[in-house]
């Protein structure tokens, strides 16, 4: 049933997007049709001429890895060709973002769900209906949905089909052809159909990423994007272990759950005692072989079964003994008994992840139906039930949970964990979001408009919740389907579906190569980073200066460092310190803050059950050196293998901001547009060397846990003051942030002022696919116009979203830096700011020292600014014409483009600001990337000049000294 899948995700979502969100929403649809030029240009009423677009995109496209291009361009171009239409790609990227939001966001979910619920009883009718829907919608919008089955049929000739191999729970293989751009859902539904499974919400498909890590296939996203260049090989497995399997409606569902649990047990993922192994094994035998037959079932009739990771003769004997006692039990009854016992096991349904606590101690995070469990060496040392958790978030390789204050506590506290790498952090976060939604909410959270403009990942669980699926399955009305119970003898085969993680197997995590030469490597990478900073600058300078009056002395960069620190007084530097201090605070403040944090922590531990204060104490008093070493290990890894190392933790992160302010002739007839156009280019390209398995590359994201009740009625209850702060940020977000204007002013006066500049002029720069910002009236009197609206820039900074920890918000980000810098500086300026978080650490009190962030970051910002011929510092705020955020998911390349229109003295300037974020390990070629980025920027706007380049570098430091 090819049709069923795509329709659900695509059809429903895309249209809605459009309807709901005016300009911004146009994007997705356009994006959807890369091959449809018209679509691209059409919807935006206010969208400026599209001519600038292609050019620009072309440049950007180069950053996209070949495979991405391939994917996009399949209908038109050859993969990997540099000529691949850039536009397509970037557009796609945006779309994905959107889709992610919307798809997951379940704005549509309710409808969808109701429909599904209704139709679930009759599986047959469902597809048909969906097909219809899809057709209608397609016609309406003239948007081909690549992923949808129907369109797949239509465009059959063009579509490339791929064969997916799915390992089922009984170990058999299921293969099916899917269109190359099919969404996860499509394949999943194929499998469910093959299995004749209706209660499918408990299950999912997983794949191994390049790092050999099991990842869940997001149903709402394209498969291709998720698996990257891995095999099209999946495993069908249980994603949400039902708390009470007896409440499942169908035996077939229980059977599949049994199969999963047998795997879990055999692989050691679900630890059991001897007796339990025997008991469960005996039910397995009864289910699969029927009554014990002394004739047939001789000595070794069971030796082919695997009942335990280490099966002994003794166990087998016990199994047989018990098997005999189950006489008369039907397979379904046996399965039910099996589940009744298995569900009581303490690790039933607990999804384990290796992590370190804030002191660098190895722990395991266990995500389960009720919340988050913390284990250390098999022992549960803490537990955070969902109701206790206010927010979960991740940033880089850190994962945070914000805890609701207890009765006696006044403050929320945030607990942070260090995961082996960014992807791992994101994985835990996602799993948490999903489990929370599935088990605790009545219906999936529906992010409101603003919600998905929040920075970071917009991932939300979009499937049915347990409540919904129960309701749905109560409507199942079909004769119990016949199914074949295959012997689990085969269970010893591939345990593909079960990522084996034991509570106790820390060795794995540690063994990944973090131990040895980590420190050396680190220092290596450090020095390399420095180079990186310099070189690119030089490059940038050369490349840019040739065309523009750009002044750079790249070589001088390093020596300037120290000076710069002094110079930088006017520079606002905040770096993302992990445990999140506000760096703009004075040292005193920081100290105070530290103290209060530690106090808070202490009180948290006292009032809220801290499992073992003594342990904490121990850790606290442990030598900082140890901690630091641990941290270093955590953050730096030796890559054992060549490239594409999954294991690699991002060590270096760079942010490069290139701003071009160029005099350009208005390319398009803009009514009031006078001669001069100042263009400011700010692009943000983010490159992550580590191959993240997910298509979304956000460095971080937040998720606010909501009590079930909340979710029913209001989606967004503001529980915290902090939420408001977020709101501010949200509004800063590019497209829609602007639309939803009114709200904006609140937070930062200056920024908002900029945002609100009047923008009536259609912009040449604006590409059809760019969401048009409908600017409001701009209150003037804002002095700094050259520096694009801070807010605007902040917005694109998805990767660097400020993180909230310990109840304090450090919104401030490194990214903001450039802006401020620019503002204050006269014509030609080059500044560099280096901040090493350690200095802070050093100044902290004893206690705070130990609470030093796990990851030390070095923040460095270099600004090059060309003389502004037209006196761009005259304080006239510009007009925001367009803002576009393009997130390409290649190796995590994010490109953000803002176009600002400035009106001043009868002149209209267009400023394009580009922000490029390159994230990766030491061995990524930053120089190259940067140079390339600058070059691209120039190529895109040959008629503009580069007026400012800000290189902002942030590095995770290896803490080898001390």
């Amino acid at each position: 049933m090819t049709t069923e899948v795509g329709s659900e995700s695509d059809v429903k979502k895309v249209p809605e997007v459009q309807q709901q969100t005016a300009p911004a929403s146009a994007e997705p649809s356009q994006e959807e049709s890369p091959s449809d030029p018209e679509a691209a240009a059409s919807p935006e009423p206010s969208s400026p001429p599209a001519d600038g677009g292609p050019k620009k995109e072309k440049g950007i496209s180069r950053f996209l890895p070949p495979w991405l291009k391939r994917q996009k361009s399949q209908s038109q171009d050859k993969p990997g060709e540099s000529s691949a239409p850039p536009k397509q790609e970037s557009v796609e990227a945006v779309q994905e973002e959107q889709e992610e939001t919307h798809g997951a966001g379940a704005a549509t979910a309710s409808t969808e769900q109701t429909e599904e619920e209704k139709s679930i009883g009759s599986a047959d009718t469902q597809p048909v209906r969906e097909e219809k829907e899809e057709e209608t919608k397609e016609e309406e919008q003239v948007i081909p949905h690549e992923a949808s089955g129907l369109s797949a049929l239509k465009l059959n000739k063009k579509m490339k089909m791929v064969v997916c191999h799915v390992t089922l729970l009984d170990g058999s293989q299921f293969s099916c052809e899917v269109e190359k751009r099919a969404k996860g859902q499509y394949l999943f539904f194929q499998v469910c159909e093959h299995l004749n499974l209706l209660e499918k919400d408990y299950f999912g498909l997983s794949f191994k990423d390049n790092a050999e890590q099991r990842c869940w296939l997001d149903p709402t996203k394209e498969i291709k994007r998720q698996i990257r260049n891995s095999q099209w090989q999946f495993a069908f497995s249980v994603k949400f272990y039902p708390l009470d399997p007896s409440q499942l409606t169908e035996d077939i569902t229980r059977y599949l759950l049994c199969l999963q649990l047998r795997q879990d047990i055999a692989s050691g993922r679900l630890p059991c005692s001897f007796v339990t192994h025997a008991l469960l094994g005996s039910y397995t035998l009864q289910a699969e072989l029927g009554d014990h037959d002394p004739e047939e079932h001789r000595l070794d009739y069971i030796s082919d079964f695997q009942f335990a990771p280490n099966q002994t003769k003794e166990l087998e004997e016990k199994v047989v003994e018990l098997h005999k006692s189950h006489r008369g039990m039907t397979p379904a009854q046996s399965d039910a008994q099996f589940l009744e016992n298995a569900k009581k096991l303490s690790m039933y349904g607990v999804d384990l992840h290796h992590a370190k606590d804030s002191e660098g101690v190895d722990i395991m995070l266990g995500v389960c139906a009720n919340g988050l469990l913390i284990y250390k060496d098999r022992l549960r040392i803490n537990r955070f039930a969902w109701p206790k958790i206010l927010k979960i978030s991740y940033k880089r390789s850190n994962f945070y949970i914000k805890i609701r204050p207890g009765e006696t506590e006044q403050f929320e506290s945030t607990v942070g964990f260090k995961l082996p790498n960014h992807r791992a952090a994101k994985r835990v976060w996602k799993v948490c979001v999903e489990h929370h939604t599935f088990f605790r909410l009545v219906s999936p959270e529906q992010p409101t408009k603003t919600k998905f403009l929040t920075l970071g990942s917009k991932f939300r669980y979009s499937g049915r919740t347990q409540a919904q699926t129960r309701q749905a399955s109560s409507l199942i009305d079909r004769p119990a389907p016949y199914f074949q119970r295959t012997s689990s003898k085969r269970i010893s085969r591939s345990l593909d579906g079960a990522p084996v993680v034991n509570v106790s197997d820390y060795s794995q995590a540690a063994g990944a190569g973090e131990n040895g030469p980590a420190l050396e490597l680190n220092s290596d990478s450090k020095s390399q980073q420095v180079e990186v900073v310099e070189e690119p600058d030089a490059d940038a300078a050369t490349s840019i200066s040739s065309e523009t009056a750009f002044e750079t002395d790249g070589a001088g960069a390093p020596e300037r460092k120290s000076k710069l620190r002094v110079q930088g007084e006017n520079i606002y530097v905040r770096h993302s310190n992990l445990m999140l201090e506000d760096l703009d605070k004075t040292q005193e403040d920081v100290l105070k803050h530290q103290a209060s944090i530690s106090e808070l922590k202490r009180s948290f531990m006292e009032a809220t059950p801290d499992p073992m204060p003594s342990q904490w104490d121990k850790r606290l008093t442990g030598s900082p050196a140890t901690t630091l070493r641990l941290q270093a290990q955590g953050s730096a890894e030796v890559k054992p293998e060549v490239n594409g190392q999954p294991e690699v933790v991002e060590v270096v992160e760079e942010t490069v901001v290139i701003e071009e302010v160029v005099k350009a002739k208005p390319k398009s007839p803009a009514p009031e547009v006078p001669a001069t156009v100042e263009t400011e280019c700010a692009a943000e390209v983010k490159e992550e060397r580590s191959l993240s398995s997910d298509s979304d590359s956000e460095e971080e994201a937040e998720y606010h846990a909501q009590p079930p009740t909340t979710s029913i009625s209001t989606q967004q209850i503001k529980e915290e003051p902090e939420e408001e702060q977020e709101a501010v940020l949200i509004q800063q977000a590019p497209p829609s942030g602007i639309e939803s204007q009114p709200i904006t002013e609140a937070a930062e006066p200056a920024p908002s002022a900029e945002e609100e500049k009047p923008a009536e002029l259609p912009e040449e720069e604006v590409h059809a696919d760019e969401p048009l910002a409908t600017p409001d009236e701009a209150p003037n009197g804002h002095a700094l116009q050259a520096e694009a609206p801070p807010t605007l820039r902040a917005a694109p900074t998805e990767e660097e979203e400020p993180h909230i920890v310990n109840g304090s918000t450090s919104r401030v980000e490194a990214e903001h830096l450039p802006q401020v810098i620019c503002c204050s500086e006269p014509p030609v300026v080059k500044t560099e700011m280096v901040t090493i978080s350690d200095t802070f650490a050093a100044q902290k009190t004893e206690i705070s020292t130990k609470e030093v962030p796990i990851v030390h970051t070095e923040t460095k910002t270099i600004t090059y600014e060309a003389a502004q011929l037209d006196g761009n510092g005259d304080g006239e705020p510009g007009v925001l014409m367009t803002a576009q955020t393009i997130t390409s998911e290649s190796l995590c390349t994010t490109t953000t483009t803002h176009i600002t229109k400035t009106l001043k003295g009868g002149l209209s300037e267009t400023r394009i600001e580009k922000r490029i974020v390159i994230t990766g390990d030491s061995d990524i070629d930053h120089d190259q990337a940067l140079a390339q980025a600058i070059k691209e920027a120039k190529e895109q706007h040959p008629d503009m000049s580069v007026t400012r380049v800000v290189v902002h570098k942030e590095t995770e430091l290896a803490e080898d000294e001390d």
């Binding site: 059991c272 339990t276 008991l279 303490s346 250390k376 549960r380 040392i381 059950p609």
Partner: protein, 282 residues
């Protein structure tokens, strides 16, 4: 068919140990009270008699060892759950040898024995609270993390959570199970704090029975065929207020057992026996 985690409190056997003369003088104690050996002896005899005669358990009586003044407190030497017995490594050096006789007795009963061989691990059975659904292990002066880990390893079916114990000898110095899902807990701050931790750590909901006296919160619950819920608890003479609380448990067969002397050497009711369930079927 007895499934996993069914039959909480059902026991068939009890292992006890006679009181050595040395207890009066040499047994470890947190206080400094004089023990009347005769009275203590009498108390213990009554205790054993209740198990044996009143409740009909098969009582395995180990002989006293004068070299082990604390040997009467058998609970610390082993943790038995289901068919598995974990022979502990008591936190007090002087008590390590107590496990030998216990191991022999439990082996005799046909339990599968797990020994704590790790030299760095210590665990007293008095720090182990089994609720029927999970374990809580008090991290105390006598029990450390490693000991708890080994316990977790021995009883893989169950969650094992650690609970810091401060100002008390053992976790069970102020709490115990008074029924399925019913935790008897002392009213002291330390006890309440520990309870809070346990509640947070658990996926299960427990009722609590709060007793004004911490020591009274140590009681022995059993669920015996033909007798139903049985509770050995403090006498009104020792803890009048707490005894009243117990008396409110209408459905339990309440058996006040005196513990006046043994408490002087930190012995509580649960300390004096290891209860075992050895039914024929699983």
């Amino acid at each position: 068919m007895a499934g996993l985690m069914s039959g909480f409190g059902s026991f068939t056997h009890a292992v006890v140990r006679a009181l050595p003369q040395s207890l009066a003088k040499e047994a470890l104690r947190t206080g400094s009270l004089e023990v009347d050996l005769l009275k203590a002896q009498e108390e213990h005899d009554k205790y054993v008699s209740v198990l044996k005669h009143r409740l009909g358990l098969e009582v395995v009586e180990l002989p006293a060892d004068e070299a082990l003044p604390d040997c009467v407190f058998v609970e610390d030497a082993a943790v038995v759950c289901g068919d598995t017995a974990l022979i502990t490594r008591p936190g007090a050096e002087s008590r390590r040898k107590e496990t030998e006789a216990m191991k022999a007795a439990l082996t005799e009963l046909g339990l599968s024995i797990v020994e704590m061989t790790d030299e760095s691990a210590t665990l007293d059975g008095g720090d182990v609270l089994f609720t029927g659904r999970e374990f809580f292990v008090g991290l105390s002066m006598r029990t450390n993390q490693r000991g708890a880990e080994i316990l977790a390893d021995a009883f893989k079916d169950y969650a094992v959570s650690t609970v810091p114990v401060q100002d008390r000898l053992h976790l069970k110095s102020f709490c115990s199970m008074a029924g399925p899902g019913l935790i008897a807990i002392g009213a002291s701050e330390a006890a309440q704090k520990a309870l809070k931790i346990m509640q947070q750590m658990s996926d299960h909901k427990y009722d609590k029975l709060t007793l004004p006296d911490d020591l009274a919160a140590n009681c022995v619950y059993m669920n015996l065929p033909s007798k139903g819920d049985v509770l050995l608890h403090c006498t009104p003479e020792e803890f009048p207020e707490s005894a009243k609380v117990f008396e409110k448990l209408k459905d339990h067969m309440l058996i006040p057992v005196s513990n006046q002397e043994k408490v002087k050497v930190d012995g509580a009711l649960t300390c004096c026996s290891v209860l075992v369930n050895r039914k024929k079927n699983i």
